[in-house]
Amino acid sequence: MASETSPRPADSLLDIQRTWWDRLAFIGRLLWRDKGGMLGLFLFLLVVFSAVFAPWIAPHDPLEQVMEDSKMPPAWSVGGSWEHLLGTDTLGRDIFSRIIYGSRVSLTVGFFGVLIAGTLGMIIGAIAGYLGGRVDSVITNTVNLVLSLPYLLFVVFIAAIFGRSLLNVILIFGITDAPIFARVTRGEVLKIRESGYVESARCAGASWARIVFDHIMPNLIGPLITLATFEMSAMIFYEAGLGFLGLSVPPSVPSWGNMLAAGRQYLTSYPWIATFPGVAIMITSLGMNLLGDWLRDVLDPRLRRARK
């Protein structure tokens, strides 16, 4: 792999001011070279696709209960039918369709959770990093201490109090995950603020707004996108965990965690009910982690060489 990239390391997106199209093409070439990243992107797009087009892909209504078809094993095993690819649950609902609809819950929680956490964290982190001094030390200490608490325990505790709803789950993750974004943003802002190019821009008489929007923001986006990918993966994971404990979205909503919880009671007699939602969680998580690894390498040119 190293040999095909070595002759001319077109190593930086910044070396010449290119058009956006050139940059995208460059990123595309890097992606093509990284098999893991390609796989990650493919898996991620697969999940997004099934969430967006769920009504068209799903062969059945995810809520429709057909009691005479209940507890049917997957199509390839004895007693299965191609009518229900991954079998049916104890109420005779089609597992494949429920998994497809379940991706909507997972992605919604992941996306809006990260959006809220990212926005809050970025504001707090930017204030700390930009102002420095006393404000910074108070924020940084608080963030570090909060991050040292047992995270899952508090998520479970808060979820138990507020009760089961999609909005609650999104808010819980959005707020409890903000400190991580704050920590990363602060670190990056600090690094960028002291960098040579910001100093030279300041010397050249650039305005405050110009420094923030033209120099700090573009350099902040890379690490934050990478972090957002990993955090989204983690939230999807934790949401399923909460669902498994019966603390996420209401039981009537088809979500992967709820399916796992329902299948757990029938683990030994009808193992497929709990197996397939777990596979769905794993595929999503794997895809996003691979994508995150690749983004980290691509968006940070310093890491691009160290990887090989």
């Binding site: 040292s148 325990l153 508090f154 498994f244 757990r264 794993m282 982690n289």
Partner: protein, 306 residues
């Protein structure tokens, strides 16, 4: 050193106060803690009597002062379900959870560090591919789901391990393995990247040019320097495992604090939930303080930074 210790101690106490305040507020933020703790079908008279008994009808400041003064001596009231002091119930469950978390951590370190090191020493080799695969899998496989599959396969079909409870010596194997899995993934990843970095440091090159045997260099020069970030991750992860054990303990019916938490939530036994949350946080905060102090002793740069 004393100054550093006092600052860290002060921070820990402040955080402890923050945790108490948070837990106290959380139980009241929905408006009525009595409604939260009683079953939905409770009558208005029952709720009123309960409110009186728990002291929820007093001004909130008085309630908080009362809560604080009891909390400092470890009194978190009675469990609604068991009608015995909540704190005693929690501490009874502590040994089981510590056994599970410590075994899981041990497993994660014993597998994770050597594999991560092999990967970092020879990037691109087969061992490195294995290390990267393990790191990825540890992060991506939902461990509560893997736990169910393992029960099905190793417990029910092969009958190698007990499927639930804490009894025979081998009952800890499966729950500890799945609890340690995500941690192992992290340790592999971190060891690999740290070793990769240290490998090209000047002092390693010097050691090679002095003619030292590679195993000596691996252990004395590379592993020793890599151990600082690894130890810090272990400290953080132990706290994560104490909280994350709720899933694993629930699945394996392991009689620890996590299982108690899950049961307490089901019973709406919030005094017990509150005691578990505060007790676990205290343990984690104390562990973090301890880790930092050990650090400061090992690494003078930290204590002179203050």
């Amino acid at each position: 050193m004393l100054r550093y210790f006092l600052i860290r101690l002060g921070q820990s106490l402040a955080l402890m106060f923050g945790v108490l305040l948070l837990v106290f507020m959380m139980l009241r933020v929905t408006g009525d803690p009595a409604a939260l703790m009683l079953p939905r079908e409770a009558s208005a008279a029952e709720i009123e009597a309960f409110r009186e008994r728990m002291g929820f009808n007093r001004p909130i400041i008085v309630q908080f002062a009362d809560f604080l003064s009891k909390a400092v001596v470890g009194d978190f009231g009675e469990s609604l379900h068991f009608r015995t002091p909540a704190m005693t119930l929690v501490t009874q469950r502590l040994p089981a959870t510590v056994e599970l978390a410590a075994t899981g951590l041990l497993f994660a370190v014993l597998i994770g560090v050597p594999i991560g090191m092999m990967g970092g020493l020879k990037p691109g080799s087969a061992a490195d591919s294995l290390a990267r695969l393990l790191a990825l899998m540890g992060q991506s496989i939902p461990n509560f789901w893997l736990a169910m599959l393992m029960i099905l396969f190793f417990g029910v079909q092969l009958r190698w391990f007990p499927t639930f409870g804490r009894g025979a010596w081998n009952s800890v194997v499966m729950p500890a393995f799945v609890l340690g899995l995500p941690v192992m993934g992290q340790i592999v990843r971190l060891t690999r990247s740290t070793v990769l970095e240290i490998r090209s440091e000047d002092f390693v090159r010097t050691a090679y040019s002095k003619g030292l045997e590679p195993p000596v260099i691996y252990l004395k020069h590379i592993l020793r320097n890599a151990s600082i970030p690894i130890i810090s991750v272990i400290g953080v992860q132990f706290g994560y495992m104490l909280g994350g054990s709720i899933y694993i303990e629930t699945i394996f019916a392991w009689p620890g604090m996590g299982q108690l938490l899950q049961l307490a939530i089901g019973w709406r036994d919030f005094p017990l939930v509150q005691a578990i949350a505060i007790f676990t946080s205290t343990v984690v905060i104390a562990l973090n303080l301890l880790t930092d102090l050990v650090y400061a002793i090992i690494d003078p740069r930290i204590r002179y930074g203050f």
